[in-house]
């Protein structure tokens, strides 16, 4: 256990495993707590991607290795490197107040995929065949990620997909100018090539000619539902019956996901000169950018709240505006305006004030009575979200209030052998959330099928010297190059160009490498304060107590300025930016550095 390292009986440097250069594995909750608390990017990633490790590999020019590190957690790095919602960057220590901008983690992920050698060999750690058969319904990100993991674990997996091609939302819901299909094809192929059977064009449902879920349950040892969240949330409008499909009322109204799916199925879509998009997520932005490319001259996104509170990346927002799309906030659509022929002439809105907060952290808007106004438009695209549908099930499955299927701790629904993952469980989320959840469920299915268990340990590797230079703190965030605006009229021309090797190398240097743990051996420290003197921040503290919470994370340090109360001199890893100044100045070499990350082991 790591705790032994600082205990008095291990104070002899010759006995210190880290000084001896040996790799150490720990199942001490404090070490797991340290990793969760101190590597914010990895903790924020729903798939648990080891971000510092792959960024370090990129800094060393090992793009193939970086790709493989990514692939351990997320089987589609080149795809996610283009379209991820980037929760890791929101958590990045470099973006904390006073530290500058977060590292371009997502752009680096893409660079790993783009710059790996042409002859790069994918590595997979395969388990022996189990003889168990698993059916996965849906070939979207959740279905593919689960199928991949289950196939690695030795199960025979068959995916049933309604559409003609796999990919789900990735293929049918995201425009090609954000996600080139060539990249999607390659990574889907790599994910499914370990014997996963892909049966496309097969609808699973209760309708005529459809494959029944009950049939799948009879034919397979386990069935995983990963059908996503594909039904539009309807917009309540004055004069329209509640829950009515607006596209049936006016031909100039579309639902965002349906609009994109039709387009990517090959339909010839058209929009009017003035396009209003209602919604605040990536789908709304995608619809607006597609509408612009389809000839929309005045494309406006209308928000209930304001730009600050919409769940998209600032880069996407910027590129959207750059393409001439306007964004107007604090308004809710309340009615359609049509002419005598039923064609759309405008949308009536009501002005909003910002209200309180939803449970999910999103901002509420409060309409202001009597503040209605009309914005003229020829096409309305409604992209206010999606919901799950359960009418394809030919059996009763417990659902929650939102209509999302309930799953137990073991990942199973209320039906024996029927599991569910991704957006079908949680409602509309992001690709990385769907992948992260699907991997967890795949693990549970494996446990249920063959009673195999795995658990996580912390691998601690000694590091001889600080690998990072202080000058790296001053490197600005490298911006993603994009194609010029005049070239953005095609739907298939990718907008972002990707980093070149120089940009990727510079951006990778910015990472603080939060997986590095600097520790002071209090038994050897002579309390000379040299480390405190050179610390660039208030990161080394004299403490009288350190609270360790039940989950192994640390509570606030209890600092003291009275020497008689000092119990330890402690590196506050919340403040530490891994500059290594303390390590270099220590006259008695009592500061050690280890590289920490989770590993999954059997048993």
């Amino acid at each position: 256990m790591r705790g032994d390292h600082v205990s008095p009986e291990k104070s002899d440097p010759s006995q210190d495993p880290f000084r001896q250069g040996t790799i150490h594995y720990s199942d001490d909750p404090r070490d797991a707590g340290w990793v969760r608390q101190n590597i914010p990017c990895q903790t924020a990633c729903p798939a648990g991607t080891n971000v510092p490790a792959y960024i370090r590999a990129i800094a060393e020019g090992q793009h193939g290795q970086a790709y493989e590190i990514n692939r351990e957690a997320n089987v589609l790095p080149g795809v996610l490197g283009r379209i991820c919602s980037r929760p890791c960057e929101s958590a990045c220590r470099h973006g904390w107040a006073g530290n500058g901008d977060p590292v371009g983690i997502c752009n680096l992920k893409r660079s790993a995929a783009d710059m790996k050698d042409a002859s790069h060999r994918i590595t997979e750690r395969l388990y022996a065949p189990t003889g168990k058969r698993v059916a996965v319904v849906g070939a979207g990100p959740a279905g593919v990620a689960a199928a991949y993991d289950l196939s690695l674990l030795g199960h025979d997996v068959t995916i049933f997909e309604r559409e003609e091609k796999p990919g789900g939302m990735l293929r049918y819901g995201i425009p090609e100018f954000r996600l080139p299909r060539s990249m999607l094809e390659i990574e889907l192929h790599n994910a499914l090539r370990l014997g996963v059977q892909l049966r496309t064009g097969i609808a699973v449902g209760a309708g005529k000619g459809a494959m029944r879920v009950s049939t799948l349950l009879a034919d397979f040892d386990a069935v995983l539902l990963a059908t996503g969240c594909m039904a539009p949330v309807y917009l309540p409008l004055r004069g329209v019956p509640e829950g009515a499909d607006l596209t049936q009322h006016c031909q100039d109204v579309e639902y965002g996901l349906g609009f994109l799916m039709d387009l990517h199925r090959g339909q010839n879509k058209r929009v009017g000169r003035r396009v209003a998009v209602v919604g605040a997520g990536f789908t709304a932005l995608d619809c607006a950018r597609v509408a612009r490319r389809l000839g929309g001259q005045e494309v406006t996104i209308h928000l209930r709240t304001s730009e600050e509170y919409i769940p998209v990346t600032s880069e996407e927002l910027f590129e959207t505006k750059r393409e001439g799309i306007r964004i107007k906030g604090l308004r809710t659509p309340v009615a359609l305006r049509t002419d005598e022929n039923g064609r759309l002439t405008g949308v009536e809105f009501v002005q909003n004030r910002l209200g309180g907060w939803r449970e999910n952290g999103r901002r509420l808007a409060a309409p202001i009575e009597g503040s209605e106004f009309v914005e003229a438009c020829d096409t309305l695209i409604i992209a206010i979200g999606q919901k799950t549908v359960n009418d394809f099930l030919d059996m009763r499955v417990e659902v929650d209030r939102s209509g999302n299927v309930r799953v137990a701790e073991n990942g199973m629904t209320s039906v024996h052998g029927l599991f569910a993952a991704g957006d079908y469980v949680h409602g509309a989320s992001t690709a990385i959330e769907a992948i992260g959840h699907a991997r967890k469920i795949a693990d549970k299915i494996d446990t249920w099928l063959v009673n195999r268990k795995r658990h996580r340990m912390v691998r601690m590797e000694p590091v001889a010297a600080p690998p990072r230079e202080p000058a790296h703190d001053f490197i600005p965030r490298q911006h993603m190059p994009t194609i010029p605006l005049p070239e953005r009229h095609q739907l298939t021309h990718e907008v972002e160009c990707g980093y070149n090797r120089d940009l990727a190398g510079e951006e990778a240097k910015r990472c603080y490498l939060c997986d590095l743990r600097y520790q002071i051996d209090v038994n050897r420290c002579i309390y000379c304060r040299a480390c405190i003197e050179v610390a660039p921040r208030n990161c080394i503290k004299l403490v009288c107590d350190v609270e360790v919470k039940p989950d192994g994370t640390h509570g606030p340090l209890q600092e003291t300025k009275e020497w008689q109360k000092v119990a330890a001199i402690w590196i506050d890893n919340n403040e530490c930016i891994r500059c290594g100044a303390c390590f270099k100045v220590c006259p008695v070499h009592c500061i050690s550095i280890t590289r920490n990350h989770f590993v999954t082991v059997d048993g």
């Binding site: 107040a97 505006k321 004030r353």
Partner: protein, 353 residues
């Protein structure tokens, strides 16, 4: 000062971010109404409060920055107003009531006034050309632009808001050539009907400004460095064609300077949202000037109010309310674009005391 210490026993701490008309008006009234308080103005400028309305005068010949100062340094000493210059605010910790500076110094406050104004708006599609533009929003920027402009040189103005048109008058007076590429923001913040706009554009031509219809050319697509032997900048239009100038200046209106407030929990749309008492959604934070959108009962919307009279009035209202008053802001600014005796345009937004 101990940034996080409560001021329960000490004087009340007022912090003003921004060193313009609103901020200085507020500081003056805060001192009058709370003589024992601590008042700190934070500004990223190296100069004390200067009169931005006089900046066009820089183009009439060299003038020392002293000539632009609205108040001498002694003014602040006498009123015990601390002006922290050349410091950039990066965030506000509303829970601990601290303003964080770029060098990590926290400044504690009991009441905060955000009066940072706005910066010249640059449309996102021109962001790649950012480094090739010349600016006018600050004394330092105006000096840089003046140095880049040769005698009788050519200035290309994009957009043409009233700040730019004010400068254009001076440039014409010193025999510069002014080319205006029109845009929907021409005459901003005036709101003109099509007829009024056509009439005003004709007046600009009469003043000697050369007009290019930006919409007819599909808008400006890029600004480039000029080739050797040609003026320093080239403006390229989306539907073909170009024009050259010694300097190219964007005048597309203002973008409120609120970046450091993002994530604080204080309501923002484009600017900081305030009620008519100029209080934000955080009871300890007020906003005044071009940075705030004020709720208008009449319009049922949050509105920006521009112009010297409005901004000064906002500074006063904020100060009164920060010291326990209950004053409401009401605009008295004239907003009609008029004509002078020569038929040239004349805007109330150009007027200052």
């Amino acid at each position: 000062m101990n940034a996080s210490a409560s001021s329960a026993q000490g004087p009340r701490r007022y912090v003003i971010i921004g060193n313009g008309v609103a901020g200085n008006q507020a500081a003056e009234l805060l001192r009058e109404r709370d003589p024992d308080s601590r008042i700190t103005i934070l500004t990223n400028s190296r100069l004390l409060f200067y009169n931005r309305y006089l900046l066009p005068q820089l183009f009439k010949g060299h003038q020392s920055w002293h000539a632009f100062l609205a108040n001498p340094p002694e003014y602040y000493v006498q009123r015990r107003i601390e002006v922290r210059r050349d410091c950039r605010v990066v965030s506000v910790d509303t829970r601990n009531k601290q303003v964080k500076l770029a060098h990590n110094e926290p400044i504690g406050y009991d009441a905060l006034l955000v009066a940072t104004g706005g910066r010249s708006h640059l449309p996102e599609d021109l962001a790649d050309c950012r480094s090739l533009f010349h600016h006018f929003g600050t004394y330092e920027a105006a000096v840089t632009t003046r140095k880049a402009l040769p005698d009788n040189g050519t200035v290309v103005m994009l957009g043409g808001d009233m700040i730019g048109l004010d400068l254009a008058r001076t440039l014409l007076a010193v025999s510069c050539r002014v080319i205006l590429v029109t845009h929907e923001t021409t005459f901003w913040p005036h709101k003109l009907t099509a007829e009024e706009r056509a009439d005003a554009l004709a007046a600009l031509e009469k003043m000697g400004i050369e007009l290019i219809d930006g919409d007819a050319r599909g808008g400006v697509t890029s600004v480039e460095a000029g080739a050797p032997g040609l003026p320093a900048r080239r403006v390229v239009f989306r539907q073909g064609g170009d024009l050259y100038g010694d300097v190219v200046m964007p005048f597309y209106g203002l973008t409120p300077l609120v970046e450091f407030m993002v994530g604080t929990g204080t309501d923002i749309e484009r600017g900081l949202l305030v009620n008519t008492t100029l209080r934000t959604s955080d009871p300890s934070i007020y906003a005044a000037g071009d940075v705030c959108q004020i709720w208008s009962e009449q319009d049922h919307a949050y509105r920006f109010y521009y112009g010297y009279k409005n901004v000064r009035a906002m500074g006063a209202v904020a100060a009164i309310n920060m010291t326990g008053g209950h004053e409401h802001f009401a605009t008295t600014q004239e907003e009609t674009l008029g004509r002078d005796g020569q038929g040239h345009i004349d805007s109330p937004f150009w007027a200052c005391e």
